[in-house]
């Protein structure tokens, strides 16, 4: 099979299972984001793929070859570390050419490839500078170029953009995605930033406590989160309890939502509804009545916090559909049934 498959991989540190029986197929040429809070096992999983950590059980297969026990330096992969791990005693060019030098490439070939890579990362002419004299974004690019020097089969990045400021990070996300699409290289990125994952990935893998909670395309994860944890981790959401009343209708916070179909046999569940799907109307015209407790006007979007039936519901609107409400005002809240997703709580 082409691509990377991870078969029932487990990594235990003593009694603690950092990665617990994870199975994942990464098609050739796809961009995968391992997403999760710190300590969820995403970095350990990446390090096992790189061979820097030995799995306690399971197998890793790359393009049909079992590489589970292959030492790192024979795996033909490129990796970008969170600390970047550039070699401080070498110049930009020598850092990038390191992998070529190890393989005994001629000086000429090394220089040619370094020039190619430098132009790819928009740093032509930087070859002779010491890496210690570069800015954060430049160092980032050099680390990426160094990892790609040998056109590896697998490109791994461990929280690669976390050291950059917000604006540069957003720009680098786009750049990294475009680079990956141009090269068609199978790429796995570890991140705890859901925006980053949504921007870059073909496949987002949400992890928690060493297990995969959901693996799907970004928009599917956003629209149809598998459980409350995923819904809460990916973007902002309203998690509301849903119950069945005596007549068998679904009720949210005491208000009947007849169109909402609960899975059969479930009497208590949670729904997730995204703030942009929540509608505010005049009091009495919605499903629930509530009081506005806070308005966060960010210019591009307006967030309104409404307290209804003891719970705070967040609604987001654009200025064009400006809800025009003030703190303390009574409003009606509409929760369109088609936007509600029933999740495991």
């Amino acid at each position: 099979m082409s691509g990377l498959s991870i078969n029932a991989i487990t990594k235990r540190f003593g009694d603690f299972a950092a990665v617990d029986d994870v199975t994942l197929a990464v098609p050739h040429g796809s961009f995968v984001c391992l997403l999760g809070p710190s300590g969820c096992g995403k970095t350990t999983l990446l390090r096992m793929i790189a061979g820097l950590e030995e799995p306690s059980a399971g197998a890793i297969v790359l393009d049909g070859d079992d590489i589970t026990t292959l030492p790192t330096h024979k795996r033909n992969l490129g990796m970008v570390f969170q600390s970047l791990a550039l070699f401080p005693h070498l110049t930009v060019g020598d850092n990038i050419a390191y992998a070529l030098r190890i393989r005994g490439a001629s000086k000429q070939d090394q220089r040619k490839r370094v020039e190619e890579l430098l132009s790819m990362i928009h740093l032509s002419g930087f070859a002779d500078r010491p890496v210690t004299k570069l800015s954060g974004g430049q160092r980032q690019r050099v680390a990426i170029a160094r990892a790609l020097a040998l056109s590896p089969k697998l490109f791994l990045l461990d929280e690669p953009l976390s050291a950059l400021d917000a604006k540069l990070r957003e720009a680098m996300q786009v750049e990294l995605r475009q680079l990956q699409q141009r090269l068609g290289i199978t790429t796995i990125v570890v991140t705890h930033d859901q925006r980053e994952a949504m921007t870059m990935a073909d496949l987002v893998v949400v992890m928690g406590k060493g297990k995969i909670l959901q693996a799907a395309a970004p928009i599917e994860i956003y629209r149809k989160p598998a459980d409350a944890f995923v819904a809460d981790f990916i973007g902002i959401t309203n998690l509301l309890p849903v119950e069945k009343d005596g007549a068998g209708r679904s009720t949210v916070l005491g208000a009947a939502v007849p169109e909402l179909a609960c899975p059969s046999g479930m009497t208590k569940a949670t729904i997730s509804i995204r703030p942009e799907d929540v509608r505010l109307t005049a009091p009495g015209k919605g499903m629930l009545d509530g009081t506005v407790t806070f308005v966060r006007d960010l210019g591009g979007t307006i967030e309104t916090f409404v307290e209804a039936a003891g719970t705070t519901i967040t609604a987001v609107a654009t200025p064009r559909e400006r809800p025009d409400v003030q703190v303390g005002q009574k409003v009606g809240v509409l929760l369109p049934a088609e936007s509600c997703v029933v999740v495991k709580s």
């Binding site: 330096h73 490129g78 990796m79 005693h89 990892a147």
Partner: protein, 284 residues
């Protein structure tokens, strides 16, 4: 936190005590020694004030040149051996679990509690024919009969490396423990075997630490006085031995002082040279 530069004389007050100590116990004795090195020896008694270069002129003999050369060579060899043994050892030590590291470091610290005399006599027993390690080799069948391994240059070197090794490790340890472990991991993902990553990345990244440690062990070994006498022949004696000999047994204080000043100057200039070369390489 930005520190305020000292302004009033009172701000310098905390420096008074260390400065006083330094003057009383270092500057004054050292100045006396420099002065004495220009005095004239009085064969009847001690020395009398004068200003002659005779004491320095005496070095220009082949004998003292040889002793000086041997002392420097010995110190450099000890420093090199210490680094070659201690650097990989300390690197591997930092990869072990915390508890293992602590046990090793405490063990090494305990070696520092041994005096030079004890180290010297312990090694002289170990290298002896009657009770030494060669008896073990005979018992194992590696040798046909026990031999004495001293007095030899090898014995002097072993004793001095043994004495200086804990210092070397303790100086290298903080730098190696702070070294970013992802640096070698990065080298490995780029195709370097662990051995190659060590020589390509760890050693060059810590070059300044290695040079500083070399200088420290070199200076430490240059002052060695007891071990060459216990474990070596007279031709393995260092300049320090000759200085003591002149000062105490020949009562020639001016010559001993001149030799001491000369030794200090030589080691200072060597250290300076090393730093200069290091800086030029860094700038290039």
């Amino acid at each position: 936190m930005r520190r305020e530069p000292p302004r009033s004389p009172a701000d310098y007050a905390p420096l008074a005590f260390p400065a006083l100590m330094l003057i009383v116990f270092f500057v004054v004795p050292f100045s006396i020694m420099i002065a004495v090195s220009f005095f004239k020896r009085d064969p009847a008694g001690f020395y009398k004030p004068d200003f002659v270069f005779d004491n320095y002129a005496r070095f220009l003999s082949a004998f003292f040149g040889e002793v000086l050369g041997f002392s420097l060579m010995l110190a450099v060899t000890v420093a090199a051996c210490c680094i070659v043994v201690a650097f990989p050892f300390t690197y591997l030590l930092t990869k072990r679990p915390r508890r293992v590291q602590t046990v090793w470091l405490v063990g090494l610290l305990s070696v520092l509690s041994l005096s030079e005399v004890i180290i010297g006599f312990a090694w002289s027993t170990l290298f002896s024919r009657t009770a030494g390690i060669t008896n073990l080799f005979v018992a194992v069948g590696l040798m046909s009969e026990p031999v004495a391994l001293l007095p030899t240059f090898g014995a002097v070197l072993t004793g001095m490396v043994y004495q200086a090794l804990p210092y070397t490790i303790l100086v290298l340890y903080p730098a190696l423990v702070r070294l970013d472990p992802t640096m070698t991991e990065a080298a490995r993902t780029l195709g370097a075997s662990p051995m190659r990553a060590f020589f390509n990345v760890v050693v060059p990244a810590l070059r300044n630490t290695i040079v500083a440690t070399l200088i420290m062990v070199f200076v430490f070994a240059l002052g060695s006085y007891l071990l060459p006498q216990i474990l070596g022949r007279p031709r393995h004696w260092t300049l320090s031995v000759l200085i003591t000999d002149q000062a105490i047994y020949q009562s020639n204080m001016p010559f001993a002082a001149a030799m001491a000043v000369f030794l200090v100057l030589i080691s200072l200039s060597l250290v300076g040279l090393t730093l200069l070369v290091g800086r030029r390489e860094n700038a290039a």
